[in-house]
């Protein structure tokens, strides 16, 4: 493998990783903070892509589509939390798996009923649709660089918000000890709605960013759900920086695995990696307390 190719593949791996981080950020937030396994995360990702595609194509503005999609998925997330999922905080993980499994079926079918089965068009604005020459011999798609940028900014914002702001403090307090946090005046209910809506919005954001590169079709969320779970767990449940590190690692392992190994091994290399890492560090790379 020549040096330019190696560098390009490394960049590909990192970019894939950041895209995976964007896809997992919402999941790790909800899972880590509220101890809720939300399998419908992939469905929210799918809705983000569909809503953004619809608005962007009708209005010819990608940004408008993005804005509407993020707000819409946040709203859907909040609605889900209030109407259904808040009853499950104290139930077992299994019951959470059951109810969110049902949600996947409902969301997939409703999406098909509303938008039909034919995959949707989701084009990029011309300004980001091409490639730029990063250095001689390496043309890289502009939009992938945008995804890279957005992902890193999101990671930074999340980290700062949770670790360094008052809201973040409330969130962490509510997560670790709900009764105590309530007693000192934190409105835990609102905090949880907010966290869930934020998680949903992050899923929607990931969907609308990935939509132009990937097929916008019913069922697009499930492969992403698996990857997001892998990243979340390897990074350590509840750890944002863990998710970022794990995601980039997985992105690199997957990219190089696919080009260097046989097709069979290439497909399973991330799962092999997960098994090896968990065998070595059973609580992920950066476990958050308990």
């Amino acid at each position: 493998m020549s040096l330019p190719l190696f560098l390009e593949q490394t960049l590909n791996g990192v970019q894939l990783g950041v895209m995976l981080f964007l896809m997992s950020a919402g999941l790790t937030l909800v899972f880590g903070i509220m101890n809720l396994i939300n399998l419908a995360h992939g469905a929210l990702y799918m809705l983000g892509a569909f809503i953004a595609a619809t608005v962007a194509e009708k209005s010819d503005s990608f940004l408008l589509g993005a804005l509407v999609a993020v707000l819409a998925t946040a709203a859907i997330g909040a609605l889900l939390e209030v109407a259904l999922l808040r009853r499950f905080y104290h139930r077992s993980h299994l019951d959470q798996v059951l109810v969110t499994f049902g949600l996947i079926l409902v969301f997939n079918q409703v999406t098909q009923l509303i938008w039909g089965a034919v995959p949707m068009r989701f084009n990029l604005p011309d300004s980001v649709a091409g490639s730029i020459e990063l250095f001689p011999g390496l043309n890289y798609p502009v939009f992938r660089l945008v995804i890279l940028g957005v992902g890193l900014v999101v990671g930074l914002l999340l980290y700062v918000m949770i670790m360094r702001t008052r809201i973040g403090m409330w969130v962490r307090a509510g997560a670790s000890n709900r009764a105590m946090a309530s007693a000192i005046g934190v409105n835990v209910e609102m905090v949880f709605i907010g966290v869930f809506a934020a998680g949903a919005a992050l899923a929607g954001l990931a969907g609308l960013m990935a939509g132009p590169i990937l097929a916008v079709q019913v069922g697009m969320g499930e492969p992403v759900l698996i990857l997001a779970l892998v990243v979340t767990v390897i990074g350590g449940i509840g750890s944002i920086n863990g998710a970022l590190v794990a995601a980039i690692m997985i992105g690199l392992i997957d990219t190089f695995g696919r080009v260097l190994l046989s097709p069979a091994l290439g497909s399973m290399v991330i799962f092999l990696a997960m098994a090896v890492i968990l065998a070595w560090k059973p609580k992920g790379l950066f476990p958050v307390h308990g």
Binding site: E8, N12, A117, V118, R121, A215, V218, P263, G266
Partner: protein
């Protein structure tokens, strides 16, 4: 003794068909209606229903009852549905199946039960060769052939170095094997990717580094959309031309690919601009009824319905006479949207393949434009392995 039995059987046969002429023909339509493959079941069913409409809602003059079900792209679910349709609903024909792995689970048990199985899409090689069966027919194609046509075209055009990609499953392997049969140049890369893989940046980088003259890929459905979009975004579209089979560039995926597909080539035995009266009527009627352009899946299913009608008409509608129905299908003549249509000895089609190119039509939609004939009367390579047995049921 034997003559008595023969007379008795004939009498029974006559009395059965006298009553049966009033009974509707039952057709089981098993396809994928949910999940990412759901668009294909919808195409097939829409095409089939339109075909039925064009024959006045009857087949061979008899009423029809179509029972549909969703196989969820899972072979064991498909098998259960086939069992139900054969044993509970007593269907005489099973059709609709889209995916090869589902068809492989369904075909043998249904055929053993005496049902006719007509594939409007699944193109696995087993039934074209060693496992050919008197009651199994395919109105679509066999997976190797569209690729072979592209290979032939590229050789003819003097293209020397080609990079190949497909998913790591039998249809993908069949496709690339078919391509290599038709292509006499140098294969500089042959890559099999994961079936659930979403992102092809790494593979595209490898292609760029290998500097081929052209790329041939086989990526069905959403995989194709991903690959083509990413290929265009990487700026490769203008550097190395893309070639694919028709179902990587048809109306189930072109709307989503958009401009990214422009300038790509495919091989097709039919496409939405085919210049033939039956095809023009089909496309007009399809667009009027379903508000979208049809893909080859719909055309294949449309042909299936009309083919069954023509075959039945030639035997007075008596589907119960299986030997006659088989013969009628083998020699069927009808107005196919493909122009001419005939079955090979293994009951897979022999048809013409054309080169098509992705362009924008006057409504701004991306469509495949029919260009030149690549090869006429192309047959699949498995026919020599088929020693068609006599029907026993």
């Amino acid at each position: 003794m034997r003559r008595l039995l023969l007379a008795a059987t004939m009498a029974a046969g006559i009395s059965v068909s006298a009553n049966a002429a009033d009974a509707p023909i039952k057709i089981g339509f098993i396809s994928t209606f949910s999940g990412p493959g759901g668009v294909l079941g919808q195409e097939l069913l829409d095409g089939f229903n339109l075909g039925l409409e064009s024959t006045g809602g009857t087949l061979g003059g008899r009423k029809v009852e179509v029972i549909q079900a969703d196989d969820q792209a899972k072979p064991d679910v498909g098998r259960q549905l086939a069992d139900k349709m054969v044993e509970s609903d007593h269907v005489q024909i099973l059709t609709g199946v889209n995916f090869s792995n589902v068809m492989l689970a369904i075909a043998k048990p249904a055929l053993d039960a005496g049902v006719f199985v007509i594939s409007p899409n699944a193109g696995q090689s087993q039934q074209a060769g060693k496992m050919c069966h008197p009651h199994y027919f395919s109105t679509s194609f066999q997976n190797d052939v569209p690729a072979e046509a592209i290979g032939m075209y590229m050789t003819h055009k003097g293209i020397k170095r080609v990079y190949l990609l497909a998913p790591n499953y039998p249809a993908g392997k069949d496709s690339l094997a078919g391509f290599k049969m038709g292509f006499k140049g140098e294969v500089v890369g042959e890559v099999y990717t994961g079936f659930t893989q979403l992102d092809y940046a790494a593979e595209i980088a490898q292609i760029r580094a290998a500097k081929p003259d052209a790329v041939y890929f086989f990526y069905p459905g959403g995989l194709g959309i991903n690959f083509v979009k990413q290929y265009a975004q990487a700026g490769m579209k203008t550097e190395v031309p893309l070639f694919g089979p028709s179902f990587s560039f048809d109306q189930t995926v072109l709307p989503a690919m958009g401009d990214a597909a422009l300038g790509a080539y495919a091989s097709a035995f039919w496409n939405e601009h085919y210049d033939n009266a039956a095809s023009k009527k089909f496309v007009t009627d399809f667009e009027a009824k379903y508000h979208r352009l049809p893909a080859p899946y719909a055309a294949q299913a449309y042909d299936t319905a009309r083919m069954i009608d023509a075959a039945l008409k030639s035997i007075g509608g008596k589907i119960e006479d299986k030997a006659a129905f088989q013969k009628a299908l083998e020699t069927v003549k009808f107005d196919s949207v493909r122009g001419k249509f005939r079955f090979n000895t293994n009951h897979y089609p022999i048809q013409d393949y054309y080169l098509t190119e992705a362009v924008k039509d006057d409504k701004g939609r991306v469509v495949m434009n029919m260009k030149e004939l690549i090869a006429a009367d192309l047959a699949d390579p498995y026919v020599q392995d088929c020693h068609m047995p006599a029907a026993t049921n």
